[in-house]
C-alpha cells in the first residue's frame, strides 16, 4: 500500500478522547455542565425538537421511495443523527432498536482506521449488516453518510431498513437454516457503497446478482440514502443558522442531558434493589430437512436475568447463567443486546421523544462471554436473534414493571412483549417470476397486559412500537397466496385479572404457483417463552402450523360449500380437518417442508401477551364482551376465569354475577385444597433433582449452565441442597 498522510479528521483520536473524558468525569464527553441549556433553555429545547423533526420527516419521505411492503406498509425503518464520534443525538420513530446498533457501526469504522482507508469524505455512503460490527441480523441493513461543514466532520446521518429478502439458504430475511454465518445471506461489512451521494453501480449489481428479490433491497438503499442526504442538508442549514461552535457543543449537551434524564427518570419511576426473572426457549429440528448435524437438533435454553437498580439510578442487567452460543440462527451479538436495551428503555422510560444515546449510557449490560448473548466465535449465525432477544427483553419489561408497581406508577406496568414468529417464502410468484419475501404482518402481536387494563390485541411488538400488520391487499400483491382468513385467536392472551392482548391467525390459499417454499424460522411449542406478572399466566405457547396439501377447496368454492377460514378452537381437530379434504399436516415449528402448490391451504398463528393478576378477579361483564367478540371462549370464561355466562334473548353472552360468585368461591376452595406448602414440594422435588430425572434437553440445559456459570451452580446447589456439579456429572 502506498504511504498516505494521516487523516486530517483525526476522528479516531477524538473518539478515544471522548471515551477518556467519560471515564474521568462520568459525564458524556466530559460535559459536566449543560452550559448552553442553562444559557437559553428555550433555544436548546427548540433545537432538539427540530432535530427530531428532521428525522421523522426524512423517514416518512424515504418510506415513499421504498418498494418493500415491510418499509412502506409496516414502517420497518428508522433514521438518526449522530455526533462525529458516532453517538446518537436524535432519532425518528420506527425500529428504534437500530439507533444504537448504527452507533456501533460508525464507531467500528472509526476504530478500524476508515479515515485513512477507504477514507471518509463528503458524499460517501457506508453500509453494513454484519451483527459483529453493529446490527442485529443480516436483513437489518444500515447506511450512514458523514456530515461535513466548513471542511470539518460534524456528524453522521444514518438509516436502517429491515430487508424482506437477504439471499440466504432459505428465502426471506430471518434465515431459518443458517447454522453458521456463511448461509445467512448477503453480507455488507462496513463497506463504502457509494460516493458523491450515489450508490456504486458495482454494489447494486452485487445486490441484484445475490438476492431473490433485489427490488426490495436496492430501492430501500435508495430510500435510506435519500433520507440521509435529507437529514444531512437539514443539519448543515441549521449549522449555518446557529454557527459551527454552537452545534459542536449543543449536540454533545443533548446527549449528556439524555444520560442525566435517564438516571433521573429511573429515580423517579422505580425502586432501587435487585429484580430477577427468567424465560425459556425450546428449539426442535430433529428430522427436519436441511439441518446439518452440527449440534444437538433439539435444545432448551434458559434465560435468567438479574437487574439491579442502584441508588444513583443506574440500571444494570446481568445475563449470567444463560446458555452457550450454538450452531443455530438465534445467537445474538452485543450490538443486538444493546439494541434490545435501547428500544425497551425508549418505550418504557423515555416516551417523550427526545431520547438519544445518553439513555443507553445510563445503563450497563453484563453479557457473559461465550453465551448466546456474547458469542466468542464470530462465525456464528445471528439470522434470527430476535427469537431469543424478544423473550429476554420481555423479562426486562416485567422486571421494570415490578419496579413501577412498587413505586405506584401502575399505569406504566406492562407484562411485556412476546415472540411473533415470522413466515417467510420464496419460489415462483403468481406472476411466474422468481421471488422471495418475509411476511411482516407479524409486527402486530398481542401485547402483555397492563397492571390496570387488558393488553393490546394484535397491536404490539417490542422491536417497533408503531405496530402494524399491513393491508391484506398489499401482501397479496407480493406473494402467490390469497387470504381466506385473518382472525383473532380466542384465548391467545395469557389469563389474568387483566388478560394479555390476543394474537391473530392467517389462513391462506396458495394460488397461481407450482413452487412456493414456506418457512418459519423458529418457535417450537415445547415451552412458554413469555410470562405473566403478579398472578397472571403466560400466553399460550407458540401454536403449531396446520396445512392441507392438495385440498378440495376449489371444488367446495364451485359448489358454494363453506370453506375453512381459521383453525377453530378444538386443538385436537382443526376447522381445516372439519371442512377440507386433502393431505392434512400439523407441524410444530420451525416449518420447513417441500414446496407448496396451488390449491394448498396454510395457516400461521402469531402470539398473544401474558396476563396480569389473579384470574379470579377478572371483570365478568368485560369477559362477556370478550366472548361475544371472539377474544375469549365461553369454555375459558367458565373453566379458567370462573365466570358463568348466560345468554340474553338475542343469544348474546351476559354475565351471571351470582353464579359467578358461587363458582369462584368453589374454585378458590379447590385451589386451597389442592395446594401444598412450598416446603413440601421442595422436599419431594429434591429427590427428582438428586436423580437428575429430567428429559435429555432439560438435563443438557443444566449441564451447560453449570459449566458456564459459577453463580448458577452455586444458586442451584444452595436451593436444592445438592452438589450441582456431581448431580449432573460436570467435571
Amino acid at each position: 500500500m502506498l504511504d498516505k498522510p494521516a487523516s486530517a479528521l483525526r476522528i479516531r483520536e477524538r473518539l478515544l478522547e471522548s471515551e477518556r473524558l467519560m471515564d474521568e468525569t462520568g459525564c458524556y464527553d466530559g460535559i459536566t455542565e449543560l452550559k448552553l441549556r442553562n444559557q437559553d433553555p428555550l433555544k436548546f429545547e427548540t433545537l432538539h425538537t427540530k432535530l427530531r423533526a428532521y428525522c421523522v420527516s426524512a423517514r416518512e419521505m424515504a418510506r415513499r421511495i421504498s418498494a418493500s411492503p415491510g418499509v412502506r406498509e409496516v414502517g420497518e425503518m428508522v433514521v438518526a443523527i449522530y455526533t462525529p464520534e458516532g453517538d446518537a443525538i436524535a432519532l425518528s420513530n420506527g425500529i428504534m432498536v437500530h439507533v444504537h446498533t448504527m452507533s456501533r457501526f460508525i464507531k467500528w469504522m472509526i476504530r478500524n482506521g476508515y479515515e485513512e482507508n477507504p477514507q471518509i469524505r463528503d458524499g460517501d455512503i457506508f453500509a453494513n449488516n454484519d451483527a459483529f460490527i453493529g446490527t442485529v441480523q443480516v436483513p437489518d441493513v444500515m447506511d450512514v453518510v458523514p456530515i461535513f461543514h466548513s471542511g470539518k466532520l460534524v456528524g453522521w446521518a444514518g438509516a436502517v431498513c429491515h430487508e424482506l429478502e437477504a439471499g440466504g439458504i432459505t428465502p426471506g430475511g430471518d434465515v431459518a437454516l443458517a447454522q453458521e454465518r456463511f448461509t445467512e445471506g448477503l453480507f455488507v461489512c462496513a463497506e463504502k457503497v457509494g460516493e458523491n451521494d450515489e450508490l456504486r453501480r458495482d454494489y447494486v449489481i452485487r445486490c441484484e446478482r445475490n438476492l431473490r428479490m433485489p427490488i426490495y433491497w436496492v430501492l430501500d438503499e435508495k430510500a435510506k440514502v435519500a433520507s440521509c442526504i435529507d437529514m444531512r442538508e437539514s443539519v448543515k442549514a441549521l449549522i449555518d443558522e446557529i454557527g459551527l461552535d454552537y452545534w459542536m457543543q449543543v449536540s454533545k449537551e443533548f446527549i449528556e442531558e439524555g444520560r442525566r434524564a435517564q438516571l433521573a427518570r429511573t429515580r423517579q419511576l422505580t425502586v432501587p434493589g435487585i429484580y430477577r426473572g427468567h424465560t425459556f426457549y425450546g428449539h426442535v429440528t430433529a428430522g427436519k430437512p436441511g439441518y446439518q448435524p452440527l449440534g444437538d437438533p433439539d435444545w432448551l435454553y434458559n434465560m435468567p436475568i438479574e437487574m439491579e437498580i442502584t441508588t444513583d439510578g443506574k440500571i444494570v442487567m446481568d445475563f449470567e447463567g444463560t446458555q452457550p452460543w450454538g450452531y443455530h440462527s438465534m445467537n445474538c451479538t452485543p450490538a443486538g443486546m444493546d439494541g434490545g436495551m435501547f428500544v425497551t428503555l425508549t418505550q418504557h422510560m423515555n416516551f417523550e421523544g427526545l431520547v438519544n444515546d445518553g439513555a443507553w449510557m445510563a445503563t450497563e449490560l453484563k453479557l457473559p462471554k461465550g453465551t448466546w448473548t456474547n458469542p466468542d466465535n464470530e462465525m456464528v449465525a445471528t439470522a434470527t436473534s430476535w427469537a431469543l432477544l424478544l423473550p429476554a427483553y420481555g423479562v426486562f419489561q416485567r422486571l421494570l414493571s415490578r419496579s413501577f408497581i412498587a413505586r405506584g406508577f401502575v399505569e406504566e406496568a406492562f407484562v411485556g412483549q412476546v415472540n411473533s414468529p415470522m413466515i417467510e417464502m420464496g419460489g415462483t410468484s403468481q406472476y411466474g417470476t422468481p421471488f422471495g419475501m418475509a411476511h411482516f404482518e407479524c409486527a402486530a402481536a398481542g401485547s402483555g397486559a397492563l397492571a390496570i387494563k387488558d393488553g393490546l390485541d394484535t397491536a404490539y411488538v417490542g422491536w417497533n412500537p408503531e405496530s402494524d400488520m399491513g393491508n391484506i391487499e398489499i401482501w397479496e400483491q407480493n406473494m402467490p397466496m390469497l387470504y381466506i382468513g385473518r382472525s383473532i385467536v380466542p384465548n391467545s392472551g395469557g389469563a389474568g385479572k387483566y388478560r394479555g392482548g390476543c394474537s391473530f391467525l392467517s389462513t391462506w390459499l396458495v394460488s397461481k404457483t407450482d413452487h412456493l417454499r414456506l418457512v418459519t424460522s423458529e418457535h417450537s411449542s415445547r415451552v412458554f417463552d413469555n410470562g405473566g406478572l403478579c398472578g397472571g399466566y403466560p400466553a399460550p405457547t407458540c401454536q403449531k402450523h396446520r396445512a392441507v396439501r392438495k385440498s378440495n377447496i376449489f371444488e367446495l368454492a364451485e359448489n358454494g360449500a363453506p370453506l375453512a377460514h381459521h383453525t377453530g378452537t378444538n386443538p385436537y381437530r382443526s376447522e381445516l380437518e372439519v371442512r377440507l379434504e386433502g393431505e392434512h399436516v400439523t407441524l410444530e415449528g420451525p416449518y420447513i417442508t417441500a414446496p407448496h402448490k396451488t390449491g394448498d391451504v396454510f395457516t400461521h398463528s402469531y402470539n398473544g401477551g401474558g396476563g396480569y393478576g389473579d384470574v379470579l378477579e377478572r371483570d365478568p361483564v368485560k369477559t362477556a364482551w370478550d366472548v361475544e367478540n371472539g377474544f375469549l371462549t365461553k369454555e375459558a370464561a367458565e373453566g379458567t376465569f370462573g365466570i358463568v355466562l348466560d345468554e340474553d334473548e338475542e343469544g348474546f353472552p351476559v354475565a351471571n354475577l351470582d353464579a359467578t360468585k358461587r363458582h369462584r368461591a368453589e374454585m378458590r376452595a379447590r385451589r386451597l385444597a389442592h395446594a401444598k406448602p412450598v416446603s413440601e414440594w421442595i422436599a419431594r422435588e429434591r429427590e427428582r433433582v438428586k436423580a437428575a430425572d429430567f428429559a435429555p434437553e432439560v438435563r443438557k440445559m443444566y449441564v451447560s449452565a453449570i459449566k458456564l456459570s459459577p453463580r448458577f451452580t452455586k444458586d442451584f446447589s444452595t436451593f436444592w441442597d445438592v452438589d450441582a456439579k456431581s448431580t449432573f456429572g460436570v467435571e
Partner: protein, 168 residues
C-alpha cells in the same frame, strides 16, 4: 408540578379511571408525590393497620409489623421477613401434565410437560394467586425482588426509615 388527588390515584390503581383520563396521566409528566398517595390508597384498602412500606405485587406488601418488616398478603397472612423469598412460605400448585395445563389453556396447543411446568404461588390463607412461574422442571424458585428498602427511603424519598430490630 403534576399532582393528582388521592381519589384519582385510587381509581387508577383499581383500574376504574375512565380511559381518556388514564391516557392523559400516561402522557403527562409524572407526579412526584405519587408514592405516598399510592401507599395511602393501599393502606385504606387492606383490613389491617401495619404500615405499608412498599407494595411488591398486586396484593402483596412489605410492611412494618411491630418491630419486624415482613411480606404480607392483603388478607393479613404474613410470609415472614421481607428479605427472604416469600414464595418459600407460600402454597403451590404445579401444572405439569396435559390435563392440568388444559384447565388454563382449553383451546390451544400446549407446552411439553417434560420441558416446562407452571407453578402457582398461592396465599395459604385466602387462596389469592400471587405469582405464576413458567419454568423447566428442576429450576430453582426465583426470588423476584429484593428491594433496597433503606436506600429507597433514605436517598430517593428523603425520609429515612426508623431502624428496625428485625427484618432489615
Amino acid at each position: 408540578m403534576t399532582s393528582y388527588s388521592k381519589e384519582v390515584i385510587a381509581d387508577l390503581v383499581a383500574g376504574t379511571l375512565p380511559w381518556p383520563q388514564t391516557r392523559r396521566i400516561m402522557s403527562a409528566y409524572k407526579d412526584d408525590d405519587r408514592f405516598f398517595k399510592y401507599v395511602s390508597v393501599l393502606q385504606d384498602r387492606v383490613g389491617w393497620s401495619d404500615p405499608i412500606l412498599l407494595p411488591v405485587g398486586d396484593h402483596l406488601f412489605i410492611c412494618q409489623s411491630g418491630d419486624e418488616r415482613v411480606t404480607k398478603c392483603e388478607c393479613g397472612h404474613s410470609f415472614g421477613d421481607y428479605r427472604k423469598n416469600w414464595k418459600l412460605k407460600a402454597a403451590i400448585i404445579v401444572r405439569d401434565s396435559e390435563e392440568t395445563l388444559r384447565e388454563i389453556y382449553p383451546n390451544s396447543d400446549l407446552p411439553d410437560p417434560d420441558w416446562m411446568e407452571i407453578r402457582e404461588f398461592i396465599c395459604p390463607e385466602c387462596g389469592t394467586l400471587h405469582e405464576v412461574e413458567a419454568a423447566a422442571p428442576g429450576y430453582p424458585i426465583v426470588h423476584d425482588f429484593e428491594p433496597d428498602l433503606e436506600g429507597f427511603y433514605r436517598d430517593w424519598l428523603g425520609k429515612p426509615l426508623e431502624p428496625s430490630n428485625k427484618g432489615g
